[in-house]
């Protein structure tokens, strides 16, 4: 059937798709850091001395992208793409396992980083008004991190338990 042959990719393709999906968490990080960066510029435009403080907050939504990168690397190592010996043979279902395992860190990463960017922007404004409350602003933004970490954990556990 036509529709079946359309999806008649190899297992290796699905594995790479998984790695790509994990790396997409970077989209969220970029948006999140962008939002926080705009807010940071707003604060610095009035008080350039706050640069150091707001920079810490701006960087917080960046972690999701790093988690995505980490999972993508693990997948690439697992399928032998980074070993130098060429990709190992994997079945379609093994490839699909990897794709499924990568999805938590990719999807949760995108949305949590955007949400974290907003929380970080609010924290940056908090620092603008009350510079001594930097730590509290960081905690509020860092709370969002929990869910990115949970997704990373699940993705990691799943990939680790897939055997070829």
């Amino acid at each position: 059937m036509e529709s079946l042959t359309l999806f008649n990719f190899s297992g290796q393709f699905y594995a790479l798709l998984g790695a790509a999906l994990a790396a997409l968490a970077g989209i969220g990080s970029a948006i999140g850091i962008g939002i926080a960066g705009e807010a940071a510029a707003g604060v610095v435009s009035e008080d350039p001395n706050k640069f150091g403080q707001v920079l810490v907050l701006q960087a917080l939504p960046g972690t999701q992208g790093i988690y995505g990168l980490l999972i993508a690397f693990i997948i690439l190592i697992k399928v032998g793409l980074l070993g130098g010996d060429g990709m190992v043979d994997i079945t379609v279902s093994q490839g699909a396992y990897i794709l499924a395992a990568a999805s938590p860190v990719g999807l949760v990463g995108i949305f949590s980083a955007i949400a974290q960017g907003k929380a970080a922007a609010a924290g940056i404004m908090l620092v603008g008004k009350k510079p001594s409350e930097l730590a509290k602003g960081m905690i509020f933004a860092a709370m969002v991190e929990t869910y990115a970490v949970l997704a990373l954990l699940i993705s990691f556990l799943m990939i680790n338990s897939i055997t070829f």
Partner: protein
């Protein structure tokens, strides 16, 4: 996920500018100062008047500069948006009133023209003199023609004010609707209702008739003329608003004129204070303009009170709630 537009830079900058707003503590200092000179000194220290120090001669200028700066700060932050105009339009219409009235009375009203407008005063004057209303809004052009007609009929300056006020609210509502921002729309509607409630209270106090109220009623609010009519005919001034959102506010009418006028401003300030908990959307920008407007109003009350040797307690009663 919200579909509202977000303005992280603008809001963050406004939050920083909010640091320059006078605080409750400064107000207390101002009220308790012994003389107007002391008031001017505190204001200078708080950044009013920029480089030059403030005195009796230039304090009005310093106050209007403060307002103009707030308007332009917000406008600069959101150059593509028109919603700050809901605050500026009233100044446009104030100028139109001045122009029409000075034309009719042939008294030069130059001193009564105010800044902080959507249309440059020079352009407006030129449009007015050449009768070429291209740069004005449709409602403004209509209001000019209509105010002359109404004046010809009634020979009263009040008629001009009524026409202009109604047109002002029409324009404000239009801007608010076009912005698509609920907060702006609700603000204009509340402002409309509050304006009507104030006129209602004044007319009731002056023991005038309902038709007098009808002539100053501005359209666009949530409280209908019908509700006012029922309230007007009921016993007591304040009882007829139970089914509206303004019942608590209306009850203040019984506590006297000054208390009610202050409560009206405080009601709008309470509305604006919601913006304190918005971190990315547009509300804080509007609230900032309102906060500065209120600040200037409050400072003016204090300065005038001190200049005229009015008792500290009396001034205190009239103070508006501050934003911060």
């Amino acid at each position: 996920m919200g579909r509202e537009k977000i303005y992280p830079f603008a809001v963050a900058r406004i939050r920083m500018l909010e640091n320059s707003l006078l605080t409750e503590k400064t107000y207390t200092q101002l009220i308790e100062s012994k003389s107007a000179m002391e008031v001017f000194k505190i204001l200078s220290d708080a950044g009013y008047g920029g480089e030059s120090s403030i005195d009796v001669k230039n304090y009005e200028k310093a106050l209007s500069n403060r307002l103009a700066k707030a308007y332009s700060d917000v406008k600069e932050l959101v150059p593509k948006e028109h919603f700050p105009d809901v605050f500026l339009l009233k100044n446009d219409y104030q100028n139109l009133k001045v122009l029409v009235k000075s034309d009719i009375s042939s008294i030069n009203g130059e001193n009564y023209l105010v800044g902080g407008t959507t249309i440059d005063i020079k352009d407006m004057k030129e449009a007015f003199e050449t009768k070429n209303y291209g740069c004005l809004t449709e409602n403004m052009a209509q209001a000019i023609t209509e105010s002359y007609e109404q004046y010809a009929k009634s020979q009263s300056g009040q008629a001009i004010d009524n026409v202009m006020d109604n047109a002002a609210f029409k324009d404000m509502l239009k801007v608010a609707k076009e912005s698509g921002i609920k907060f702006v729309e609700n603000y204009v509607k509340s402002l409309c209702d509050i304006t009507n409630l104030k006129s209602y209270n004044r007319i009731k106090n002056m023991k005038k008739t309902f038709s007098d109220f009808e002539s100053v009623f501005v359209h666009g609010g949530t409280v209908s003329l019908d509700t006012f009519k029922k309230a007007f005919n009921a016993d007591g001034a304040s009882g007829g608003f139970k089914e509206t959102a303004y019942n608590d506010l209306a009850l203040k009418m019984d506590e006297g004129f000054t208390v009610f006028e202050k409560s009206c401003d405080d009601y709008l300030m309470a509305f604006m204070r919601d913006a304190k908990y918005k971190s990315l959307t547009v509300e804080p920008l509007l609230a900032f303009i309102y906060a500065v407007e209120t600040e200037v109003k409050t400072v003016r009350i204090i300065v005038n009170g001190k200049l005229n040797g009015i008792d500290t307690e009396v001034i205190k009663e009239r103070l508006r709630d501050a934003y911060v």
